[in-house]
Symmetry: C2
Subunit: 151 residues, 2 copies
């Protein structure tokens, strides 16, 4: 699998359960460019069901947005400085706030596609909006405010 | 362990990875009354770290809020009708929207306490606010709009 944004995080920041390359137990979500936007794909196993066995639990959906959003913020910040993700250590963003709107039940054992769009960059603050879709149908949207850690 | 709110969900709604009694892989979060408010406790294992190994990943925090929030909504809705959680099948709430504000890094391998407070009930819509604390220090807050499934 090609390197995702998360694979360029410095080692000390690579332990995230959702997306860290150095977490052996985790989901290893990987985010990429998709034109001007960003994209990540993930197929949840049956164990990650919500209350009913056919749908994904809300925490998984929030996790995908959280990991894809902070990775996207890092990529957008690098791009704004005309840098690629592998061009020096990228900034490591953390989530200040995340709002998720659940539009409809999200099916399980189906590839979920999360797309991220840059809304604004102001100093260390990056705002990202996201859509999570299954088979082309939007199931949830999110708004994130991410802040880069000071070096 | 005493029965949590989630243990009273009808079997068909008890498969949630975060809190379902019938999900053998999940976290089995349990929510209880705490006076007029609600409470849940959870100690994340080291594997659920965020980017740095000492802190919890954002998805876990959102998961705890999501599961505790919908369970609290069910309990608040039952109480509004002068019913206990074991008094007939409680309504099963799903999340319409969840906003999480991350105040500071949340430590790992420490008991996290999530408290829920009822803001309003309007028909099938229940609004809940929550605070997640570690060792008495608030680490994150959340606002949820939950909606009960139609029977």
């Amino acid at each position: 699998m090609p390197k995702g944004f998360q694979d360029f995080y410095p080692d000390r920041f690579s332990h995230c359960y959702g997306c860290g390359k150095d977490n052996p137990h985790g989901h290893h979500l990987k985010s990429y460019w998709d034109g001007e936007e960003t994209i990540a794909r993930f197929t949840p196993g049956a164990e990650f069901s919500g209350g009913v066995p056919d749908n994904v639990y809300g925490g998984m959906i929030a996790s995908l947005f959280d990991c894809h959003g902070t990775a996207s913020a890092a990529a957008f910040a690098q791009r704004a400085q005309n840098r690629a993700m592998g061009d020096g250590d990228p900034p490591r963003f953390v989530t200040a706030s995340l709002k998720v709107d659940f539009l409809r039940p999200t099916p399980i054992r189906v590839e979920l596609v999360v797309k991220g769009k840059l809304e604004s960059i102001e100093g260390r603050k990056v705002r990202v909006t996201m859509i999570l879709s299954a088979q082309g149908i939007p199931c949830a949207t999110a708004q994130m405010l991410a802040i880069s850690l000071k070096e």
